[in-house]
């Protein structure tokens, strides 16, 4: 079952998503990257209806890139998230809405702090210190409520993430095997092997 997590810490956001692509009860693929790099300081984890997800993520990616080419400065995470939310809200009221859930994490190079936004397919958006989508959310949110520290170092943040992943592995009936983990900080984006 699809699961994605995101955790903020001191000067960074960790964004993680499982790597399974499934159809009905079949696992089709186990190395799918569902965390998109939207700009040098912006990450987006997506989950939901297969097809919709990739299509919408690419649409967002290219629009954010277009803004960056056209204008003087890249979109800040808050502005990008607001734009993405609007795109989903507009789509919801169209003939064929995207059913995509997102975690948008970024480092704001203007105000020098990390931001994380939880967005669902209905166009709900909220800024949060940590977030999760999918069945994993039922385990992760209570854990992070206890263990999340906004001032934590990257090492401690990754330990909190591992706790979440372990609980999901232990308790969820159908667990995803592997996770793609990316971190965005003032130095940009790096991928981390857990």
């Amino acid at each position: 079952m699809e699961t994605s997590f995101a955790i903020t810490g001191k000067g960074y956001v960790i964004v993680a998503a499982d790597t399974t692509a499934s159809r009905s009860i079949i696992k089709m693929k186990t190395d799918e990257d569902k965390v998109k790099t939207l700009s040098p300081h912006l990450l987006m984890a997506y989950s939901g209806e297969p097809g919709d997800t990739v299509h919408f993520a690419e649409y967002v990616e290219r629009n954010i890139r277009l803004y960056q080419i056209r204008n003087l400065y890249p979109l800040r995470p808050s502005a990008a998230a607001a734009w993405i939310r609007r795109a989903l809200a507009t789509s919801l009221r169209s003939r064929s809405p995207y059913s995509v859930n997102l975690l948008v994490g970024g480092y704001d190079t203007a105000s020098h702090d990390p931001h994380l936004y939880w967005i669902d397919f209905l166009g709900t958006m909220t800024e949060v210190p940590f977030a999760a989508h999918g069945y994993g959310a039922y385990f992760a949110l209570s854990l992070l409520d206890r263990y999340h520290d906004p001032e934590a170092s990257l090492e401690d943040g990754l330990i909190a993430l591992k706790r979440c992943i372990r609980q999901v592995e232990e308790r969820l009936v159908v667990t995803p095997g592997k996770y793609k983990v990316k971190v965005v900080s003032k130095d940009g984006i790096q991928e981390i092997d857990l």
Binding site: N71, L72, Y73, L75, R76, S78, A79, A80, A82, W83, R86, D108, A110, S111
Partner: protein, 268 residues
């Protein structure tokens, strides 16, 4: 055939000039002066309102309208104040465009429009009028005093050709050369808003036409004034466009009220 290269904006003269654009700039150099000063903790705008005569009924604008104090200084967005020199009618249409552009950005991205982006939006439109046939360019220069998280406080200037540039202190309108050389002498890089206010008003009083200064009744209200700072509580930009009564107080505080000003003018 003197008018061969004058009558259409889209045609270059043999010397490579666009006369209509240059005429527009000429029109602005007769308009009321607007000057802007960039300080460490804010931006200051001061403008000279040309007084048409004492029969003009100003009772409705006495307290300053919403988002502006009359004819030269307008709130373009919650983080940008605009100072306009040139044709008032053209200016109104540009203010309307700027406000719409700012709100459109706010709607799409849930943030105040970055100052340079707003300047760019207006300049894109102004440029269009120097290129597409049958249209007259805007006879307006603007100063944009604004704040955004990318570059904090900023001051920009744009002209009818669609050029814009960033400044520490600048001036548009009548006598802008005099004002700019005065500012060049007196401006310091680490100036604070409270000193910038004084400098702006002093420069203004020295550059304004003596005829305007002499007109007894309207003289004091002939200055428009605005300051953009950061609200100490919220950390958000706070635009203050002064009302006529507040400007009188300010002039008195700076020692530029009626009498002092006259002696200063004589001494100068």
């Amino acid at each position: 055939m003197a008018r061969r290269y004058d009558s259409r904006t889209t045609i270059f003269s043999p010397e490579g000039k666009l006369y209509q654009v240059e005429y527009a700039m000429e029109a602005i150099s007769h308009a009321g002066t607007v000057l802007g000063l960039l300080a460490k903790d804010g931006v200051v705008l001061a403008a000279e309102k040309k007084v048409t005569g004492k029969l003009l009924d100003l009772s409705a604008t006495k307290e300053g309208g919403y988002g502006g104090s009359g004819e030269k200084i307008f709130l373009l967005s919650s983080n940008v104040i605009g100072g306009l020199a040139g044709l008032t009618a053209d200016a109104n249409s540009l203010v309307n465009f700027a406000r719409t552009a700012a709100q459109r950005h706010l709607l799409a991205y849930d943030e105040d429009i970055p100052v340079e982006l707003l300047a760019q939006r207006l300049c894109d439109m102004k440029q269009g009028y120097t290129q597409f046939g049958g249209l007259r360019p805007f006879g307006v220069s603007l100063l944009y005093a604004g704040y955004d998280p990318h570059y904090q406080f900023q001051l920009y200037r744009s002209d009818p050709s669609g050029n814009y540039s960033g400044w520490k202190a600048t001036c548009i309108g009548a006598n802008n050369g005099t004002a700019q050389s005065l500012l060049k002498q007196e401006y310091k890089d680490d100036i604070e808003v409270k000193d910038a206010i004084g400098l702006a008003l002093r420069t203004m009083s020295k550059t304004m036409d003596s005829t305007t200064l002499g007109s007894e009744k309207c003289r004091r209200s002939a200055v428009e004034f605005a300051v953009l700072t950061l609200d100490p509580v919220t950390g958000k930009p706070k635009a203050k466009i002064y009302r006529p009564a507040e400007i009188d107080l300010l002039l008195e505080k700076e020692g530029l009220a009626k009498k002092d000003e006259d002696t200063e003018m004589k001494a100068a």
